[in-house]
């Protein structure tokens, strides 16, 4: 069981959110789990925390297809915020469009954070998804 200070779940599908929350219970110990229905809301929350010097989420579960601001746009904005703290971002999608995978590859190279790509369905959250390996280093 890993203790994580803050986790963001950004997804407009309540079932997926329910699933992630449920799976987190068994692998992570976290008192600050925030849910956002789109990228815009999540971005604004991160930005506010960053400005106020409050803890930045250690782990973000990020859906790609969302209204208003999708996962990719959220990534762009987050990278632009230039946050020094390490973040593990898990992109979660049901898309099997190879274009999405290529896009992820492109982002991975220029993203200062750990960027995982996870296809739905998810049955279990690995410790790697919570940044265990990276945190150890």
């Amino acid at each position: 069981m890993k203790t994580v200070s803050c986790i963001f779940i950004v997804d407009d599908d309540p079932i997926t959110v329910f699933g992630i929350k449920k799976m987190l219970k068994s692998v992570a110990n976290c008192d600050d789990i925030q849910i956002f229905q789109n990228g815009q809301e999540a971005y604004e929350a991160v930005k506010l925390r960053h400005e106020q010097g409050r803890p930045i989420p250690e782990v973000i579960f990020l859906d790609i297809n969302m209204p208003i601001m999708d996962g990719w746009d959220f990534l762009e904005e987050i990278i632009a915020l230039d946050i020094n703290e390490h973040i593990v971002i898990n992109m979660i999608t049901s898309s099997i469009d190879p274009l999405d995978y290529e896009k992820w590859n492109g982002f991975k190279d220029r993203c200062p954070y750990t960027l995982n790509f996870k296809n739905k369905p998810i049955f279990k959250i690995d410790s790697a998804d919570l940044g265990c390996i990276n945190v150890a280093s």
Binding site: T16, F18, P67, S94, P121
Partner: protein, 608 residues
Amino acid sequence: MKAAESIDQFYLLKQLPKATALLCKEGRLLDASCSWLELFNLPPQNGDLKTKVYNLFPENSELNKKLKENKPFTIQHKRAAANGTRYLKSYFSPWFDKEENVVGTIVQTDDITMEVEKDKKIKWLENVLETKVEVSKTGWWEFDVETETLTWCNETKRIHQVPENYTPTTSEAINFYKTGYSQNKVGMLFHRVKENQESYDTKLMLVTFQGQERWVHVTGKPIVKNGKVTKVFGTIKDIHEQEMAETRVKEHQQLLSTLIDSLPLNVYVKDLESRKMLVNKGECNYFGKTVGELIGKNDFDLYDEEIAKVSRQEDIEVMKHLTPIIGKETTSTLNGKTTYFLTSKIPHFDLEGKVCGLIGMSLDITSMKKKEEELHNLIDITSMQNQKLVSFAHIVSHNLRSHSANFSMLLGFLNSENDPKERQRIIDMLSQASDNLLETLGNLNQVVDINSNTSATKKKLNLKKNIVKVLQNFSAVLEKNDSKIINNVSEDIVVSCVPAYLDSIILNLVSNAVKYKSKNRSPLIIIDAIKSSEGILLSISDNGMGIDLNKYGDKIFGMYKTFHNRKDAKGFGLYLVRNQIEAMGGSITVQSEVDKGTTFNVYFNEDS
């Protein structure tokens, strides 16, 4: 007495009108008439017997011997005189005295120069004629009306292939012509020349003695004396080879002109000044002019200056550098109609190998071009549809996968969950997921319907009436939101549209305008329609919250794309509208400004 007698005798001799001389037995000149002396250029004789007659006839060495035979004879001889050579003929006969004793010779001499020269001329003329006959291979024939005899010259006989001793009769001669036209014609012509003095000159078919059919050129001409035809003279010439060659040339020409005329090409021959010297039917049809109207014309007479300049430049290149243009794509505009050609221009040489113009051939490929264009359009449409299909496949897979993934996940939870409360929660979620899946399937079905049913029957629909109808059904929502609608669409605009699609398009756009209204203003929706040459444009404008198109521009018509935080936004309406419009061959665009409003422009395609 004797002397007196003799003087009388010689005096008489002198006066004889015919040149006469007397020779003694020794062949010396006793005396002669003045005319004889003149002929031989001798002075008057004084009886000294000094003039030897043998000297006067130097060519006749045997004269002496002949004189001694005492028999009459004749010799022909020549003398050089001041007015040229004279031809003479002298008659020698013995001179008897009363006792029938030979005392000498009497010589009478005629000047036959004229006759000799006439003979010579006749011989020359005969020669000329013979040569002429030989060279020209023209035979002659002559018919004597009185004796009814027909005479053929040797060449005429050769033409008939009869032996040289053959003597024809008139009916035989006519029978040599081929039965039918030739024989009838020659019979008639021969009759007319005799009776009506009509000359003739014609080509007929002869069947020779050896049975060969040969073309001959025959003429006939009456020889008239005292108003009566006495003879008929004519010529005959074997023209078989020329005639056959001419026929072959004509056949070739016929073949060539048929070929050129029947080619599905526009063919023309131009001279060095680019004037048309020959045109075929195709070329005439293209210009809608006759051959006579086109010959001698250049491109400046036929086309606009711009086109003519280009064409003339091509002509000059071909004729100057002798490089043919083969299968070049060109366009010509005639009377406002553009035709695409595959044009070839080849230099044209005269028999000496010098360029004398060019031969042009143009194939009308307008219909092929049109087909090519249609094909390109079709390819564009196909690739667009293909692209749509691919993106649709991704949407489908993504949307269906997201639901099935949820099922898998929830079922996984259910398996390991023992808490009845939690199980119930999971089961609720499962049924929710199932509802979502059904809805998604419903949506996808709608889209598939639109795209697979492109031939859904279009009808002519009055735009205004349909808008009013949709607005009435939607009036409750409009009233609730305190919306105002200005419908500027004129009564007479008719669009060709699938009825259900038109309703869906109007409803979606109007309900969007209400749904995304400004927080500060009551909705104001303005509906306009403009008819133009490109079709009908329907525009629906609102004063709502607007959308940042720089940010979302390309996504606004995407499936499940929503841009405002509204619970009832599903991101399906505009996607559906776009599919419906495009399925009918139209298009939709959007203009928007945040917090000002949005305008959707719908273009209806009236063609298909």
